[in-house]
Symmetry: C3
Amino acid sequence: MLTFVQVLDFVGTFAFAISGVRLASAKRFDWFGAYVVGFATAIGGGTIRDLLLDVTPAWMTNPIYLVCTALALLWVICFGRLLIKLNSTFFIFDAIGLALFTVVGVEKSVALGYPFWVAIIMGSITGAAGGVIRDVFINEIPLIFRKEIYAVACVAGGLAYWLCHSLALAPYLCQLVGGTTVFLTRTLSVKFRICLPTLKGGD
Amino acid sequence: MLTFVQVLDFVGTFAFAISGVRLASAKRFDWFGAYVVGFATAIGGGTIRDLLLDVTPAWMTNPIYLVCTALALLWVICFGRLLIKLNSTFFIFDAIGLALFTVVGVEKSVALGYPFWVAIIMGSITGAAGGVIRDVFINEIPLIFRKEIYAVACVAGGLAYWLCHSLALAPYLCQLVGGTTVFLTRTLSVKFRICLPTLKGGD
Amino acid sequence: MLTFVQVLDFVGTFAFAISGVRLASAKRFDWFGAYVVGFATAIGGGTIRDLLLDVTPAWMTNPIYLVCTALALLWVICFGRLLIKLNSTFFIFDAIGLALFTVVGVEKSVALGYPFWVAIIMGSITGAAGGVIRDVFINEIPLIFRKEIYAVACVAGGLAYWLCHSLALAPYLCQLVGGTTVFLTRTLSVKFRICLPTLKGGD
């Protein structure tokens, strides 16, 4: 039986894979290339986290992520144009994925005994590094470094989780508050066009 | 005494390193940069595989890959122009390397007890990820995502290996059939100009 | 109490982070993006080394690198223009960091029982790979592959360390000679504009 978290994991993976496949298609990648970029977007963050934590990457223990990416590719092949109309839906899906992936990353690190500042970084890597790999593959400057609040939402969610944990709240409450913080920070910052200041350095 | 597989491994490493050195030279890298790109092309796929499988990367146990890359660099420095005439020879060498690397990746994963779908991915990473790293280093969109059948040949070879293994054939037969499938898929698809369809997505 | 090596480590991390933040600012990254690029420049080399050596990355055991990068970001935000006047100071800091990081990488590998040719590569990765990651993030061809003696200084320092070790000199002498070799190779090659030859290959 599917749990609620598994459904969210599926939704998040699907949304992340869609974003990879779409950007690959804009660069005229073939089907295989688009699949690989979609897969890397979906599992890249978790893989880097698991390499750093020295555990087996999650996608190597369950083929669901491969299937999910295949469905995302199929979706773009069949309904490519329809996607533009669904942009706001996928934005919500992506924010759900970001929230869930962040909480999973934080929890996994805490469970392995790492201090909280490591856990917050791992949560942010889980949520945001897949998009960085995607942008390196399509040879663009990573989007998350330049525009909108994205990885910062992960950091905010990680801090909220830590606050709840420090107050000895139940694990499910920590997850709920952490994930909601990511989701709201991400969606509200886009809605109200809140950005971080840009650097104007020396060179 | 050198075994037949060791000779093939040498040939494959040399061909992969040559491809890295040549593309680096087209971007006017210095000798050291060309050496690093050649080396990363040759050992990059196997290194990512070994990091994911949590074993020591193969090149850290045997300096042959360093020597092989040095010979490849020397070759390009001395016979740069001659290489153009030898293009078809190097295409064959590269396909041999691809076949061998794929089989090595599949075998290593199976020996460590991973399921076959993981082994097929590991075989493809061993064969194709070095070229992706090369293209990221020279700041180009990875070639294998856009043109020709390349990593798909690894997937086909992995599936052939798995089929033979399911039929309980002897290991050397699995290797032979798997490697031959990679080699033929790669060479025939180029000869007959077979490509995967390109995506035309939303954006 | 701070040891001398810890102060050098701080200086090197700060200099590496500054270089990341400055190049990010030239590409108009936001504060968060600049922080991430600075951090990756500072700890990227050591992280790749530790993943290859299968030990926990150093920055996950001590938050000093995060703090150091935050100070570097603050410095660029406050004194961006002043940095241009301090270019030669930061060049010296960067060379100190390069020397120290190389020696740390060599030592750590030797202590784990790896042969010397692996240790020299690990020293070079510790010193130079952070800059490669930085340049991939800002979507430029890695500088160290094209211009000036940089990673080659690490290789020279590693060889010097190995020579001292072979002559059974005391560890602190090996460190001193190795680090000084890196520093002098780097600074003198820039002062006298010594470069490696560029490849002119086939394509």
